[in-house]
C-alpha cells in the first residue's frame, strides 16, 4: 500500500535521510525506531509533504497509486487527512487554542467534502471512539480545558476521521504520563489501519508493531519482523540499542553505546555507525548494503 | 562577548555616533553662529561657507543642525534618565512581589500615567508654567515611566523564577540584596535596549513639542522648531524642511536600530520581552 523507494532528504547540501526504502502493506503496523537525529521524523514528514522550509525530499514514495514525493502541495494536500493522517509528538501545542475541539475535528471532514452538520455530529462520535468520556462536552471545550492525554486523543480522532488507509504516529506518547501512555498505545493498536509508528522507545514498538525499521544516521540499518529483530539483532547498532534498554541486575553497569550521535552531516563515510562501533574494521569504510529477505541489515560484521 | 555583531547594531551605532559627534563638536565649533541673525544672508543658497544654506533670518542651517543635535540629546538623556530612575525600581518592586498589593498599586498607577501621553503633559505644564525645554523634558520623562516599569517588571518576573534567585531566597537573602545582586544585573540588558528605544521616542516627542511651540524656546536651535519655521516656506525653499526632517528621521532610525541590534547582541534569550513605546 505504501511503498517508499530511495527516499533522500536534504537541507541544502547536508543529507539528513539517505536512500530509505520500505513498504507497508494494508493493515500492517510498522515501527520506525532510532535516537533523536536519526532522521525518523523527517522520513515521516516527507511522506506527508510537511517538511520544514529549506528541507527537500527526493526519491519516490507511493501511497496506492499516488505519488507523495516531488509532487506539488496542491496534489498532496488532497491526500493528507483523507488517505493518510499523522499524530504528532506534542499534544499541548498541536491544537488551535482559539477553536473549539469539536470544530477542529469536524474541520478535517468538511475539508474533504463532508457537509458541515454531518461532520459536527460525526466529530462527537469520533471523540467517543477515542474513548473520551462525555464526548459532547469535550466537543464544546477549548483545548486549554483538556489534559495532554485528552488532547492527544483528540488528535487521534482528527487523524481517524476520514478513515485513512495509513496512520503515521510520531512519538505520540512521549509527552504523556506513563499511565496515560499505556492507554493511548492500546487505543492506537486497536483503531489504527496500516500504521507507521515512530519512537525511540523499544518497549513501545514491541507492544504495538509487527515489523520494525531501525534508523541511524539517516539510514535504515536493520529491518524485519519485530520478534526476530529483537531476539536476534544483526546490526551492531541495534544490538547496542537493545542491550542498553534491557533491565540489568542490580550492581552491574548498564551497557551503553559509546560516544554520542554526531550532528547532522557529520556522520562518517561508509558505515554511518563505524565511529561508535566496537567491531569496526577498515572494511566498514565502504557503505554496507541493506541485504536480507524479511530480516535485513546493513552491516559488514553482523552479530549472530 | 556574548553576542554577534549585526547590521542593525552597526548602522544604528554609526547614526547615533554621528548625532553625538555633531553635538560634541558644536560645543567648541560650528561653521557660523547658529543664532546670528543676518538680514543680508536671508535665505542664502547653499555654498560659499554655508554648506546647507541659511534660513529666513540668515542663520546657517548646518550650524543650527549641529546645535539642534545637542538639544535633542539633552532632552533625550534627561527624559530617559527620569523614566529609568523612576520606572526601573517601580517595575522591579512590582515584579518581585507579583501578587502583593504593592504590585497591583504600581501597575494601576502605571496604567493611569499611561493615559497621559507626553504631549498632553507638556501642554498642561506649558499652559500653567509656560513652555520650555524643562517642561518638555519632564513631560516626556514622566510619560515614558510606564514603558520602563512594564519592561522592568516583565524581566524581573523572569529572573525571579530562575534557579539562582530561588536558591538565594531559600538561603534567606533579603529582598533588597536579591534585587541588587541578582535582579538588576540580569535585567540590565533589557533596560539598555528599552533606553535606546525610549530615546528614539523621546526624540520624536521633543520634535513634535518644539514644532507646536511647547519645547525648546527660541533662539536655542531645535530640529522640531526648524521644521515648524520652514513650513510656511515649503513652496519657495523646501530645503529648509528637508534637513531638519532628515536629521530627526535618521536620529530616530539610529536609536531604533541600535535598540534592536543591542537586543540581539546582548541577550537573544530575552528577545521575548519587547521594548515598549
Amino acid at each position: 500500500m505504501l511503498k517508499v523507494d530511495g527516499l533522500t532528504v536534504r537541507a541544502g547540501s547536508v543529507e539528513l535521510v539517505h536512500d530509505v526504502s520500505f513498504a507497508i502493506g494494508p493493515g500492517e503496523r510498522v515501527g520506525l525506531i532510532g535516537e533523536s537525529g536519526s532522521g525518523k521524523s523527517l522520513t515521516a514528514l516527507s511522506l506527508m509533504g510537511l517538511l520544514p522550509e529549506g528541507v527537500a525530499a527526493s526519491g519516490t514514495a507511493r501511497l496506492g497509486d499516488r505519488d507523495l514525493v516531488g509532487v506539488p502541495e496542491s496534489r498532496i494536500k488532497e491526500l493528507r487527512g483523507r488517505e493518510m493522517s499523522m499524530v504528532f509528538q506534542e499534544p499541548m501545542t498541536a491544537l488551535n487554542p482559539l477553536m473549539r475541539v469539536g470544530a477542529q475535528v469536524a474541520e478535517v471532514m468538511t475539508l474533504h467534502g463532508r457537509a458541515r452538520r454531518e461532520a459536527r455530529a460525526r466529530a462527537v462520535e469520533l471523540l467517543e471512539r477515542v474513548r473520551l468520556s462525555e464526548p459532547a462536552q469535550i466537543a464544546r471545550a477549548y483545548p486549554h480545558q483538556l489534559s495532554g492525554g485528552q488532547r492527544q486523543r483528540v488528535m487521534l480522532a482528527i487523524a481517524l476521521a476520514n478513515e485513512p488507509g495509513l496512520l503515521i504516529c510520531d512519538e505520540p506518547t512521549t509527552a504523556l504520563d506513563v499511565t496515560v501512555q499505556k492507554q493511548m498505545l492500546e487505543l492506537i493498536a486497536e483503531v489504527a489501519p496500516a500504521l507507521l509508528f515512530i519512537t525511540h522507545d523499544l518497549a513501545v514498538v514491541a507492544s504495538v508493531c509487527e515489523r520494525v525499521l531501525v534508523m541511524y544516521g539517516g539510514r535504515v540499518v536493520e529491518s524485519g519482523p519485530i520478534r526476530e529483530v529483537f531476539a536476534r539483532p544483526r546490526h551492531r547498532y541495534t544490538e547496542g540499542l537493545l542491550a542498553a534498554s534491557k533491565l540489568t541486575p542490580r550492581g552491574t553497569r548498564l551497557p551503553t553505546i559509546s560516544g554520542s550521535v554526531p550532528p547532522a552531516g557529520r556522520f562518517p563515510d561508509g558505515c554511518v555507525f563505524r565511529n561508535r562501533c566496537p567491531h569496526a574494521t577498515p572494511a566498514c569504510e565502504t557503505a554496507p548494503e541493506l541485504t536480507g529477505d524479511g530480516h535485513a541489515f546493513a552491516c559488514w560484521h553482523p552479530a549472530d | 562577548m556574548r553576542g554577534r555583531m549585526n547590521a542593525g547594531l552597526l548602522v544604528g551605532g554609526v547614526l547615533v555616533g554621528m548625532v553625538v559627534l555633531a553635538a560634541l563638536v558644536s560645543f567648541f565649533w560650528t561653521p557660523h553662529d547658529p543664532t546670528l541673525v543676518d538680514a543680508a544672508g536671508k535665505l542664502r543658497e547653499p555654498g560659499d561657507g554655508y554648506l546647507l544654506g541659511a534660513d529666513k533670518f540668515g542663520r546657517d542651517t548646518f550650524s543650527q543642525l549641529m546645535v539642534g543635535a545637542r538639544t535633542t540629546l539633552y532632552v533625550g538623556i534627561v527624559a530617559v534618565g527620569i523614566a529609568a530612575v523612576v520606572g526601573t525600581p517601580l517595575g522591579m518592586a512590582a515584579g518581585m512581589t507579583p501578587r502583593g498589593w504593592l504590585s497591583e498599586l504600581i501597575m494601576r498607577v502605571n496604567d493611569l500615567v499611561f493615559a497621559f501621553p507626553a504631549l498632553l503633559l507638556a501642554v498642561m505644564l506649558g499652559a500653567v508654567y509656560g513652555a520650555g525645554t524643562l517642561t518638555a523634558m519632564i513631560a516626556i520623562g514622566v510619560a515614558t515611566v510606564p514603558a520602563f516599569a512594564r519592561v522592568a517588571r516583565a524581566a524581573t518576573l523572569q529572573v525571579m523564577v530562575t534557579d539562582y534567585v530561588l536558591a538565594a531566597r531559600a538561603a534567606g537573602r533579603r529582598r533588597p540584596a536579591i534585587a541588587f545582586r541578582h535582579v538588576l544585573p540580569n535585567i540590565g540588558s533589557v533596560l539598555i535596549v528599552q533606553a535606546s528605544v525610549s530615546f528614539a521616542i523621546a526624540i520624536l516627542a521633543e520634535a513634535a513639542l518644539s514644532f507646536l511651540g511647547f519645547g525648546t524656546r527660541p533662539p536655542t536651535p531645535s530640529w522640531g522648531r526648524m521644521l515648524q519655521e520652514s513650513q510656511e516656506l515649503l513652496f519657495s525653499t523646501p530645503r529648509l524642511a528637508l534637513w531638519p526632517g532628515l536629521a530627526i528621521a535618521l536620529a530616530v532610525l539610529g536609536f531604533n536600530l541600535l535598540g534592536d541590534g543591542l537586543r540581539d547582541f546582548l541577550d537573544p534569550k530575552l528577545r521575548r520581552i519587547r521594548a515598549e513605546g
Partner: protein, 312 residues
C-alpha cells in the same frame, strides 16, 4: 466573562475619576488666578473679588472640583473665563473632526499593515520580505507631522493635486471634505501603518512556527489556507494590544497633524486654548483626550478577552 467585564468597567470608571482629579489639580490649583488674568493688572481688588465669585473660584478647591466633575457627568464643561463661551459645545463641535481624523488614519494603517506585514512574514526569507521590513523601519522613524510636511510638499507643492491645508465640513461639500482630509489621514496612517506592519509581521511569524498550523496542514490544508483559517486570528491577539496603544498615539499625533493642516479639531482647540491661557478650555479638552485613551484601553482589554478563550 461577565464578571471580568464588570470588574474592568469598574477599573475604567475609577481611573477616569482619578484622571479627572489629576487634571483638575493640575490645571485649577496651580498658580494664576483666572479672575486676575481676565481683568488685567489694573483691576481693582473689588472687581477681582466680584469676578471670582462669578467664576466660583473663591470657593474651596473640593467644592470647585465637585462642581466641575458634576458638570462633566452632564456634559457641562463649564464656561470659559476668557471668552465667556461655554466649553462643552466647543469640544463637541471639534470632537467629531478629530474622531474622523483618527479613525481614518487607523483604518489606513490597518489596510497597509495587515497585508504587508503578513506578506513580509510569509516571505521573510526572501528579498521582498526583507525590503518591507526595512521600509517599515524607516517609516517608524518619521513623525506624523514630518510625514505631513513631506506629503504637502509632494502633493500640494509639486503636484498641486491636493490642498496643503484647511478643512471643509462634509455638510458643505462632501468631495472637498474628502480632499481636505486625504493628506491628514495619510500623514497619520502611513506612519502608524509602518509601526503596525512590524508588529503584524512578527505576530504572523510567531504563529507560523506554531504546531497547530502544521496540524491544519496535516488535515489537508495548504500552507496559505492553514495560515488564513488558523493563523490570522491567533496573530490578531498581540496585534490588538498594539492597536490600542497606537490609537492613543494617533490621538496625540492628530493634535500635531491638525496644526500642520489647519484642521479644526480638538488639538487645534487645545493649542488655541493654551495660547489664550483659557485654562478651563484646556482642562476640558485634556480631560476628553485622557478619557478617550482610557476608553480605548478598556475596549482593547475586552476585545482581547473576547478573542482568547483561555482568558475567559
Amino acid at each position: 466573562m461577565t464578571l471580568y467585564l464588570l470588574k474592568r468597567l469598574a477599573v475604567l470608571l475609577a481611573s477616569t475619576a482619578v484622571a479627572a482629579v489629576v487634571v483638575f489639580a493640575f490645571m485649577a490649583l496651580l498658580p494664576g488666578d483666572p479672575a486676575e488674568i481676565a481683568l488685567g493688572v489694573n483691576a481693582t481688588p473689588e472687581a477681582v473679588a466680584e469676578l471670582r465669585r462669578q467664576f466660583g473660584t473663591d470657593r474651596a478647591p473640593v467644592a470647585q472640583f465637585l462642581d466641575w466633575a458634576g458638570g462633566l457627568l452632564q456634559g457641562d464643561f463649564g464656561t470659559s473665563y476668557v471668552t465667556t463661551a461655554p466649553v462643552g459645545p466647543q469640544i463637541a463641535d471639534r470632537l467629531g473632526v478629530t474622531a474622523v481624523l483618527v479613525l481614518g488614519g487607523m483604518i489606513l494603517a490597518l489596510v497597509i499593515a495587515v497585508p504587508l506585514g503578513t506578506f513580509a512574514a510569509v516571505h521573510h526569507r526572501n528579498l521582498l520580505g526583507a525590503a518591507i521590513s526595512a521600509v517599515s523601519q524607516v517609516g517608524i522613524a518619521i513623525p506624523a507631522f514630518l510625514a505631513g510636511i513631506l506629503l504637502v510638499f509632494v502633493f500640494a507643492v509639486q503636484a498641486q493635486a491636493l490642498p496643503s491645508g484647511g478643512y471643509v465640513p462634509i455638510s458643505e461639500n462632501p468631495a472637498e471634505w474628502l480632499r481636505s482630509l486625504l493628506l491628514p489621514w495619510s500623514s497619520l496612517g502611513l506612519v502608524q501603518g509602518a509601526v503596525l506592519t512590524r508588529y503584524v509581521r512578527s505576530a504572523v511569524l510567531d504563529v507560523m512556527r506554531e504546531d497547530y498550523l502544521r496540524t491544519a496542514r496535516a488535515k489537508g490544508r495548504g500552507s496559505t489556507g492553514a495560515l488564513w483559517r488558523h493563523g490570522l486570528r491567533n496573530a490578531s491577539i498581540p496585534v490588538v494590544t498594539v492597536l490600542g496603544l497606537q490609537l492613543a498615539t494617533l490621538l496625540v499625533g492628530a493634535v500635531v497633524v491638525e496644526r500642520v493642516f489647519v484642521v479644526p479639531g480638538l488639538g487645534d482647540l487645545l493649542l488655541n486654548g493654551v495660547a489664550q491661557r483659557d485654562l478651563l478650555l484646556v482642562q476640558g479638552v485634556v480631560m476628553v483626550l485622557v478619557a478617550a485613551v482610557l476608553l480605548i484601553n478598556f475596549v482593547v482589554d475586552v476585545a482581547y478577552h473576547l478573542l482568547d478563550p483561555r482568558l475567559r
